[in-house]
């Protein structure tokens, strides 16, 4: 079957390095598990290993989906250059799917078997591996089928991952037998295979219709075109450009997430009391359990989504092939600083709009969902017919409102931070930086935790506050060193003038100071909790200050115009 061999060889040739690295990671993890039980491996090492496994899985997904076009188009992502091979379409579609699912299954299975053989009892042997395979198969089907609707791939990916995860979670909690789960997963793989085959054959025939929102007939109209009004300046024009390029993505993702979140609200639910507020007349407000459990998770998902978008799930100005800038962008008559600043500003606007949408959704929930009251002694008092807004409103005193506003501001800042700190790698045009930075950062963090674990004195918790505080302050020191290195690197290019550096440092100090103030004002309770665990006030305070100084971004934001300059004038 030379056709099959040909397609396999093409796959191997293109992705040798990645596949070998993945095999190495899986092999190491499996052998480590085979020799030690999972609860005997120190937590940070296990955490780091799991993280690496997740990355390995993502790498395998990336290899086997073989995405050729960017996610936003409505067409098929199957690599077009394979269509000219004298190979039947169903082989083109099914062989990578077979190899992919088999590879993922084997990798996951080796980990599970290793775990079982080392003695862990309650490890399910088959369905997690099949779950990973079904996830991959579904993604392949989604990416290869030319649906024709822009951004549909993004939405379907969320639905697929979320749906499978929810289904698996429900199956586990309802104790569905493993045989049934495996059968269901195999069914999903089979359906994905069918969809993928149809999709690839449609893509190969060119039988694609991209749906456009405007239904104007193409061609010229007889009337004179409407006059084109100019922008008042280059700033608004560049703002518009950045917004259209990538600014709308985060709000769209957040809207989709929130939409998904609201679906289970229609199901009848139990209620939990909110004990974070002071009781009025001996009564706590109660809200649906689902909202109580998952709304905070949603709030945390928004910065995570911003991190994903910042890492590259968007249209960029960097060419895919050689990572230089598109000539259209590079020949703008604007300075490097202006161009970089516009990108960061657009990230801020995007974050703000995303959170505005979240607040809108929150208002909708407050108006739509129902709540009630519960007395401190836990017997129900009021029937649950009252809208949440009416229930919550009396409890909103000054401190609660202030705290909420402060937390909201922090969350928006966190979202913007995740979005903006990734820019410098993308602008640099270096492949190593672009992929090495997120992975390397996570590895370093895990390494730090491992170090902390191993240097902990016996009898003391390894997460000792003094060590943690020390770690944060070392990072702050690294920040300073990084700033000096950056200034030295760009010396002679004139991108970061002393005035700009001074202004950046002033903003950094102001933002850090504001956050520290808010933390100390708001978290009096939390501080006392920390102190009761074990730690002097000085250590706790230095921990907080160190954490804030480390968290507020400075060097990576300043690196953005420097990297832009480097890539723009070197390509």
């Amino acid at each position: 079957m030379t056709a099959v061999r040909g397609v396999s060889w093409a796959l191997w040739q293109r992705h040798r390095v990645v596949l070998l690295i993945v095999a190495g990671v899986v092999g190491t993890f499996s052998s480590a598990l085979a020799t030690n039980r999972i609860d005997r491996i120190p937590a940070p090492v296990a955490g780091m290993g799991l993280l690496l496994l997740v990355f390995a899985y993502l790498a395998l997904v990336g290899v086997f989906i073989q995405p050729d076009a960017d996610v936003a188009t409505g067409g098929s992502s199957y690599p077009v250059h394979l269509f000219v091979l004298p190979v039947r379409t169903w082989i083109l579609a099914l062989w990578p799917m077979l190899v992919g699912t088999a590879a993922v299954f084997l990798a996951a299975e080796s980990v599970l078997l290793a775990d079982k053989s080392s003695g862990t009892e309650a490890v399910p042997l088959w369905w997690p591996a099949l779950f990973a395979s079904a996830l991959l198969a579904g993604l392949q089907a989604i990416f290869w089928y030319p649906l024709g609707i822009p951004y549909s791939k993004l939405v379907l990916t969320f639905l697929h991952i979320g749906g499978l995860a929810v289904a698996a979670g429900l199956a586990v909690s309802y104790r569905v037998g493993e045989g049934l789960m495996c059968a269901g997963l195999l069914g999903i793989i089979a359906v994905s295979a069918v969809i993928a085959s149809i999709g690839v054959s449609r893509a190969r025939r060119g039988d694609i219709r991209i749906f456009e929102l405007d239904r104007r007939p193409s061609g010229l109209s007889l009337q004179a075109p409407a006059p084109i009004r100019a922008y008042p300046g280059s700033g608004p024009a560049q703002s518009w450009y950045e917004w259209r390029l990538h600014g709308i993505i985060l709000p769209m993702m957040v809207a989709a997430l929130f939409g998904l979140f609201c679906i289970p609200l229609t199901v009848k639910d139990t209620y939990t009391p909110v004990t974070l507020v002071a009781p009025l007349g001996g009564l706590y407000p109660t809200i649906p359990t689902y909202v109580a459990t998952y709304l905070p998770l949603l709030f945390v998902l928004v910065p995570f989504a911003a991190w994903i978008v910042g890492c590259g799930a968007k249209r960029t100005d960097v060419k895919r092939g050689d990572h230089t800038f598109h000539l259209f962008f590079a020949t703008r008559p604007s300075s490097d600083r202006t161009l970089a600043a516009q990108k960061l500003w657009c990230a801020a606007k995007s974050s703000a709009v995303a959170w505005f949408l979240v607040l809108l959704g929150l208002a909708a929930i407050l108006a739509g969902a129902r709540g009630g009251y519960q007395s401190v002694g836990q017997d129900y008092v009021a029937p649950y017919r009252l809208p949440l807004s009416t229930v919550i409103l009396p409890y909103l005193d000054e401190t609660t409102v202030l705290r909420s506003v402060a937390i909201l501001a922090l969350l928006i800042l966190w979202t913007w931070r995740n979005y903006a700190v990734g820019f410098w790698t993308e602008l640099s045009g270096s492949l190593w930086l672009r992929y090495g930075y997120p992975i390397g950062g996570l590895l370093v963090a895990s390494g730090v935790f491992t170090l902390l674990y191993w240097t902990a004195r016996p009898g003391e918790s390894w997460l000792s506050f003094s060590l943690l505080a020390g770690a944060f302050w070392v990072c702050v020191l690294a920040k300073g060193v990084g700033l000096l290195a950056l200034l030295r690197y760009q010396r002679g290019t004139g991108v970061l003038t002393p005035r700009i550096v001074a202004r950046a440092l002033a903003s950094y100090a102001a933002v850090s100071g504001a956050i520290i103030l808010v933390l100390f004002a708001l978290t009096g309770i939390v501080r006392s909790d920390f102190m009761s665990i074990g730690g002097s006030p000085l250590v706790i305070d230095s921990l907080f200050v160190g954490a804030v100084l480390f968290w507020v971004p400075l060097v990576r934001l300043l690196a953005a115009p420097v990297m832009l300059h480097h890539n723009r004038h070197r390509s």
Partner: protein, 294 residues
């Protein structure tokens, strides 16, 4: 004497071990059309990127309008109209949006002129750039490069892969630019017939060096194809200084000669041959002879 629009001195650029540009000296005075010709990989695009400030000069200096394009992107690039063969326009924009966006960056933008060009090029303002044909996209790029009447029009193989009608539009743009007082054009092309029609000066680039940099008239006058008839048959080609490759055999030998005619006549007589045929060459033939020679 007016200040030159582009002044490049001693420019050298290496990519790893490959020397793309080797000690280039080039001056472009205002008001002329300079044609840059060379094989693929000769360094034309690299040179143009230096003018745009997209490459830093490793050795030597590049001055455009008297300024360094890397240090002053705003002032230099706002006076340069650039059209590249790749046509790196953002595919998601509509024509109208493209015009509106570009207009904001150039203080000399003339919106009436832009709308006239829109009609003249038959571009649908509400069409997405990804839906346009390659020729229409080139026209859109040309519109956006011309509408602010830049002091320097910089074209990097603008006609490659385009149909003759679009090529006429591009040539028309070059001519209109030069006809407006004081404006300059620098363009590189493989279509030497076009270069011949519109250029004032020619620079031939080979392997990162400038072989020839002269007015078109001089270049054409100094190249001649001659056939020499020898009194006695020869086995090997004759040795003539200024000749760029020989063809023929026995008594009749033909060559493309580069140099003064009087020198040729004297040398021919000294070798015992007389000139039996002599005619001028097109730029295409001159290029092949010059670049093909070792």
């Amino acid at each position: 004497m007016e200040e030159p629009i582009i002044e490049i001195k001693g420019l050298t650029r290496r990519f790893g071990r490959n020397t793309a540009l080797n000690d280039i000296d080039l001056t472009v005075r205002p008001g002329i059309v300079m044609g840059l010709v060379g094989e693929n990989g000769a360094g034309k695009t690299t040179l143009i990127k230096h003018v745009l400030g997209l490459l830093c000069a490793q050795e030597g200096s590049v001055r455009v309008f008297g300024k360094d394009p890397v240090a002053n992107p705003e002032s230099v690039l706002s006076q340069i109209g650039y059209l590249s063969e790749e046509g790196d326009l953002p595919m998601w924009m509509r024509v109208r949006e493209l015009i509106r966006y570009a207009a904001a960056f150039y203080p000399t933008w003339d919106m009436d002129y832009a709308q006239r060009l829109l009609r003249e090029f038959s571009l649908d303002p509400d069409a997405k750039l990804s839906k346009l044909s390659k020729g229409q996209r080139s026209r859109a790029g040309l519109l956006v490069a011309m509408a602010y009447r830049p002091q320097l029009l910089l074209l990097d193989e603008p006609s490659s892969g385009l149909d003759p009608i679009v090529r006429r539009d591009i040539l028309g743009a070059i001519i209109r630019t030069i006809a407006d007082d004081g404006r300059t054009v620098l363009f590189s092309s493989h279509l030497l017939s076009e270069v011949e029609r519109v250029s004032d000066r020619i620079a031939i680039l080979k392997s990162g060096r400038i072989l020839l940099n002269d007015t078109l008239e001089n270049v054409k006058q100094r190249h001649v194809r001659v056939t020499l008839l020898f009194s006695a048959a020869r086995e090997s080609p004759p040795d003539l200084e200024g000749s760029l490759g020989w063809s023929g055999g026995k008594r009749e030998w033909s060559t493309t000669y580069f140099g003064p005619i009087t020198q040729l006549e004297a040398a021919a007589a000294a070798m015992g041959a007389r000139i039996v045929d002599r005619h001028g060459l097109s730029l295409d033939e001159i290029f092949v002879a010059q670049v093909g020679a070792a």
